[in-house]
Symmetry: C2
């Protein structure tokens, strides 16, 4: 293994994004960007030309007429990624799929198919569905409680990985002379019987050039962190400041180490916004202008409600004390985040408006400045182990071009980012080994 290298991911959210409900007003962005495959192909190719490690597709399956634009209309992540797989050749393709409302056999099959179609570039971001309303779309009155959500997640990953190992690597002799297609001793059933699932197997798909898809995890509670430490190759998170980033990084790698895992085999990649200007002052001004035009208080209030099960906060006086009883609506949504906000509001006696303001983009954010400043900041975070890589929320197309055109070359100069792809698979890019699939026990 060579020198530690920064990882770069692109999170293309199309017509809007966190804190940016009105991004679609940018005439460079098609009004239907979030369902326009040509738009996705174009941005994925831009990221690939800039040698990014991966494209990262987030997800949600619950909307109301009040949902922000980028929630209203979106492609299912894996269907989207399969189209990108044959439109790119090197970049990794990570899709968010929930273990709360998918059967493990289906997850295993679809991800393994993407892995073969992309020739070893697939990844899975394991989530438990932050939007409680998703339950109503899957024949349930209520979302699963946290223990069930995380229990299903852990068991799902174990089943999915078991299924991915149905065939040993040399299971198919495909010998035309002898007519032998399969070596049946190298095909294994799973015979899993667990608390949430029973799955006999085997999976009807061979392994890919990277063995099996890379697994990311997103979820911030104790249970979420334990899950990530136990099973993930990569972690998707938020990092509002370098201190918070370092604390999270140390925490999750420590958990992994205590489970006997090599902490270098987990890449921590927070989602970040980046604004590049001609100078620091110019960048600050760009961000300020975006902030003004892109996000009214009403819109921020809607987005704020997401962590509380999309609870409608417009019913409260914004200038009265924060309505702390609303935490109960968050129980089966993004509870960790909702509790953090509620604790902050109560401990500091904030109004609703003040609480919502704390969730809006910090201004200036840590990655706002000239290309030099942004590159230095990234190197600082990277070297002080606040992150192993960045998942960059693609804001305005012009900004992304500045990042790839101006910041990436500086990262290369400083020796923290590749100047050419050295691998063909996502596992290769991330410096992760191919998981072994050798069986020592007797064939079933």
């Amino acid at each position: 293994m060579g020198k530690r290298q920064l990882k770069l991911g692109l999170v293309p959210t199309g017509v809007g994004g966190p804190g940016q409900h009105n991004r679609w007003l940018d005439p460079e962005i098609p009004g239907d960007a979030s369902v326009d495959i040509d738009w996705y192909i174009d941005v994925a190719r831009q990221a690939e030309a800039a040698l990014f490690d991966l494209v990262f597709i987030v997800d949600s399956q619950f909307i109301t007429p009040h949902s922000p634009p980028h929630y209203l209309n979106r492609l299912e992540p894996l269907t989207l990624l399969s189209a990108l797989a044959v439109s790119t050749s090197r970049i990794g393709l990570v899709g968010t799929l929930t273990t709360s409302y998918n059967a493990p056999f289906n997850l295993a099959r679809r991800l393994a198919s993407l892995d073969l179609i992309s020739r070893g570039r697939a990844g899975w971001n394991v989530v438990t569905s932050g939007d409680a309303g998703t339950a109503g779309n899957y024949s349930r009155d209520k979302h699963y409680d946290y223990d069930t959500r995380y229990g299903r997640a852990l068991e799902s990953v174990s089943v999915v990985r078991g299924l991915w190992r149905s065939y040993e690597d040399d299971a198919f002799p495909r010998d035309r002379a002898s007519g032998r297609f399969l070596d049946p001793a190298k095909l294994h059933r799973l015979d899993h019987r667990g608390e949430h699932f029973s799955v006999v197997g085997p999976l009807n798909i061979q392994r890919s050039p990277q063995g099996e898809p890379v697994i990311f995890q997103a979820g911030d509670s104790e249970q979420g962190r334990d899950l990530g430490a136990a099973i993930a190759d990569g972690i998707f998170t938020h990092a509002p400041s370098i201190e918070q980033g370092r604390a999270f990084y140390a925490d999750v790698k420590g958990r992994a180490e205590r489970l006997g895992r090599d902490p270098d085999r987990i890449v921590v990649m927070p989602g970040v916004s980046i604004t590049v200007g001609d100078s620091d002052a110019d960048a600050i001004e760009i961000e300020q202008a975006e902030r003004r035009s892109d996000h009214s208080f009403e819109q921020a209030l809607t987005e704020f409600g997401r962590s509380f099960g999309w609870h409608d906060f417009t019913q409260y006086d914004p200038d009265a004390p924060f309505p702390a009883h609303t935490l109960e609506f968050a129980k089966s949504s993004f509870f960790t985040n909702a509790r953090k906000l509620t604790d902050l509001a109560t401990s500091q006696n904030l109004t609703l408006r003040q609480t919502v303001e704390t969730t809006r983009k910090h201004h200036p954010g840590p990655f706002v400045g000239s290309a030099e400043t942004v590159a230095s900041r990234i190197v600082e975070w990277f070297e002080s182990r606040a992150l192993d890589g960045l998942n960059i929320h693609m804001n305005h197309p012009a900004q992304f071009r500045r990042f790839t055109g101006e910041v990436v070359p500086l990262l290369q100069e400083r020796g923290v980012f590749r100047s050419g792809y050295t691998h063909e698979t996502l596992r290769g890019h991330l410096g992760l080994p191919v998981p072994s699939n050798r069986r020592v026990e007797c064939a079933a």
Copy 2:
């Protein structure tokens, strides 16, 4: 509407197919063709160059070490089709997905995504899973019984179609001047509460250029035929002879008519094998040679077992009377087919071997002959309403080239097949209208 036109579909099964377990011995077929996206793209493009209506992907999710090669290793249908969507521009893309082991919201989402990615070329072949063993991969000890399977299928299609109509066609003004992205009155919840599913909705995807995906159905029992007549735009079936084809055609269109549907709005497309030779005798010889090399009695026995829940028939004396008690193993598999075979065996006192022989390709099949003969035969079946189109099982690549190069031009000369695409969507190719999505009731 112009003159009635023949429809053509391609069923690419890669390394093998019904009655052809050893097709992978053909050096022109990669040993991993059934998971090789480049192979699929190549054959889909060949079919598109020949102006085919659609590519049709069949499916199975249950294997054992004894399964035929084309079952052992295959891509998940929709993941595959999404990659084909951006590698072709006109041909329809129909994928098999079971209503027994998929939640309707997930089906609706994935198919709607494919429909947008392909710009209106998606289709769904609704099946209830013929392989009873699939149950074990989805946390069930037993496959659903027939009533439940078909009850779920009918309810699933109704939910999926309801979700596809979540947005009215003009729901998104996306007006940059006024900042108005959505017209919330044109987004509708479903609020479905049924016997098998409850789904609140709405779906987070707009409609496609063809409105919504085309629906095929495959399943031959009374219940299967009623389902097809009630909900399908197209029927996938078998037609071993012109008489059987005509009887099925009349039956299913009659059922549709009795339900008040226009029978011309359902296309009946049996799966067929085609062998083209320089002369009729040459074609018969080609088929005979394939038959000899491609399918041993043991292999035929394995395939025969599929209808009986992959029951192992090698345990019986092939020359003793057919073991009729095995019908019980078919109860939750392909029961209609298994009962037909058992009835035949008992009524005619057949041995196991003789019964299996009746299922092997009839020789010569109806579509075996010179290009002239094959074209005439197709026109005859088409004009006597034994079919509206053919789903052609792609056997050897050389044979497919002969079909597209020699037979298709004759079909064009005779005026039954297009000589250029006249539409952009699958619905357009098949002569089906875009389903309406206008709401007259008050918005919820």
